[in-house]
């Protein structure tokens, strides 16, 4: 059996996915990117091989994506994360019309066509507003983990008003809210609202094509997903492990490329 690998080297985390010739994910892994993209890619790929229980030689083609994609010597090909998220989401939820991917450094809204082709996309500008980094900075200020942020916000009785989308300014707003003893849950809900509003502006720019699928680390935050669903008025599809959608898309590209002849 031949296997195909996808590696997504992001700003915060690196994911690797291995798929077979059939229809299944054989194994995957998520590691921190840290200071060296090549090392992170090697580590993630090694762990994915272990999870799949296969030998390196069984993987015949590898595609790399994400910011560090050019620093993956293992890879036979590089593809942008925009194309990968589109293909990955389409594979998981075949009738996806729009993908909202909120990653560590970037958020993007992608309009997807048949067979996972990118029809249109938009990304955040040169600013951390509306990205995973925004929530990461706030989580560390509030001493909660990123995972807790979603759960806590769902239990908020009220909501703090965060007026700024700028990460630096919002952080100082959080400082003053903490000083006023506003409950943590309410601040977090306000933060989730701020990021949702920012990304919603991008969704409107591309146009709303349902069904909508969310990917990237922030899709694990149920608070953000719920607020986004409120905006949309419809449920959003989220894969059990939304962080690996980009790497999965890369693996699908690898399989496609391999079939079309190397």
């Amino acid at each position: 059996m031949n296997y195909f690998g996808g590696i997504d080297v992001g700003a915060i985390s690196t994911e690797a996915v291995i798929i077979d010739e059939g229809d299944g994910i054989s194994g995957y892994s998520i590691v921190e990117t840290g200071a060296n993209s090549t090392d992170a890619a090697d580590e993630a790929f090694g762990k994915a091989l272990l999870a799949a229980g296969i030998h390196r030689d069984a993987v015949t083609y590898i595609a790399a994506t994400g910011y560090g994609r050019v620093s993956v010597p293992l890879a036979n090909k590089t593809v942008t994360e925009i194309s990968c998220h589109a293909l990955g989401a389409k594979y998981l939820f075949p009738n996806t019309g729009t993908v909202i991917d909120i990653g560590g450094q970037d958020s993007k809204v992608i309009r997807v066509g048949d067979s996972g082709k990118v029809l249109d996309f938009t990304m955040n500008d040169k600013c951390a507003a509306g990205t995973g980094r925004f929530l990461e900075v706030m989580a560390s200020k509030l001493r909660v983990s990123l995972e807790e942020m979603g759960e806590l916000s769902l239990h908020a009785k009220a909501e703090a008003h965060i007026s700024s989308v700028c990460t630096v300014f919002a952080e100082s707003e959080v400082v003053s809210l903490v000083a006023k003893n506003q409950p943590k849950e309410e601040i977090i809900k306000g933060l989730n609202r701020a990021i949702t509003n920012r990304v919603w502006g991008m969704v409107k720019a591309v146009g709303v094509y349902v069904p909508v699928t969310m990917s990237g680390g922030v899709a694990k935050n149920r608070g953000v997903v719920t607020l986004m669903e409120e905006k949309l008025g419809k449920p959003i599809r989220v894969y059990a492990e939304p962080q690996i959608v980009g790497a999965l898309g890369a693996a699908l590209f690898a399989r496609k490329q391999s079939r079309e002849g190397m």
């Binding site: 593809v79 194309s83 970037d106 990118v118 249109d120 938009t122 500008d125 146009g207």
Partner: protein
Amino acid sequence: MKDMGVPGIMRFSRMGKKRRPRKKNASLGPPLECNSRLRELMATHYLLSRYAQGAKPVAWVTSGAPVEILRPFGFYTFYPENHGALCGAQKMGPELCAEAEEHGYHQDLCSYARIDLGHYFSGKTPVGRLPKPDLLFASNNICQTVVYWYKALAEYWKIPLILFDTPYNFREISKADISYMVRQLEEMIPLLEQISKRRFRYKRFREIVGIAKEASLTWGEVLSTMKARPSPMTIFDAFTHLAPIVSLRGLPAALEHYRALLAELEKRVAQGVGAIKNERWRLMWDNIAIWYKMRDFANLFAERGMNFVTATYTNAWTETIGYLDETKPFESMAKAYSLVILNNNLDHRLQLMERLIQEFQVDGLVIHSARSCKPYSVGQYDLKRLITERLEIPTVVIEADITDSRAYSEEQAMVRLEAFFETLEG
């Protein structure tokens, strides 16, 4: 050597120095023969401008102002926006912008304005020295920023500012709008006579309007040669050859230049010579050039067999000029100058872009969202969505600035462009 003037454009400053040979990009076709002609023309223009001071009245003019009215009075005209583009191409943008910022001008202000004000405070320029103006001449048909930028210059230098106010065209231009603009042009004449100490000569004025119209129409023909497959030049060539129609409009030199360029391009088309060797995809550019990335982008796209064959920006200097009419110079100028792309509604822009896409057989659209130029950048996301839906061609927005490279992030721009390439190549 610097005293010879225009060291930057004439490359005098490099004389005697060993030049690192620039690696020729194998994807590009032969360079235009008219490039050296252009360099000489613009270098002469900048060089002469230094000697104009004292010999002739000097006016600093915005790119969209009806300069034809100044010409009968013998004004030597200088274009800060063209100078800004030159500074941008020479990668001096951040340095000059910082000079203006140190004097309190905000980073969000247009970088052409900041470069110009930066020059005022520091005297820095790649062309040796700029002529001090006797008059400032601005029109708000391109933006409102020029009004305040030129007001600042007028205050610093204690010189007069003449403003040509063009009502925005929401749907249709009215008779009242036209007569409002004609009145302004008429009222300028006694002022211009006073400043230049010359009498207005109506016959000469009409001739100048005729020359300006002819040059703009020839520029239009130059751009039309790019409809050919393969296109004989790239938009990056056109961005450079735009300088005469901006800075020398109404002067015979601009017309002569475009006649020479047109002849060369027609010859190329007849011989099937393309600006890039393997033209597989044809693209359109929206907004002003990213001056400091011209060479990089020319290479990047050529290597992928992609050629920019049209741009709303280069088209702007030929789009409305057909309205010019020597027999009714004032009325026709009012119309030609108030209906320019940046003073016209978004519906108009959408129709224009759709027409250019069809006429030039465009496969994809690259939109530059320029931090400097708000009037050009507003509405781009709506235009993008509508064009994607209606014409089903791939589009991409890259966020950058015309000359201030601090507002450009290479990594982010490349991700967007690569995703665009993937979509285009299917």
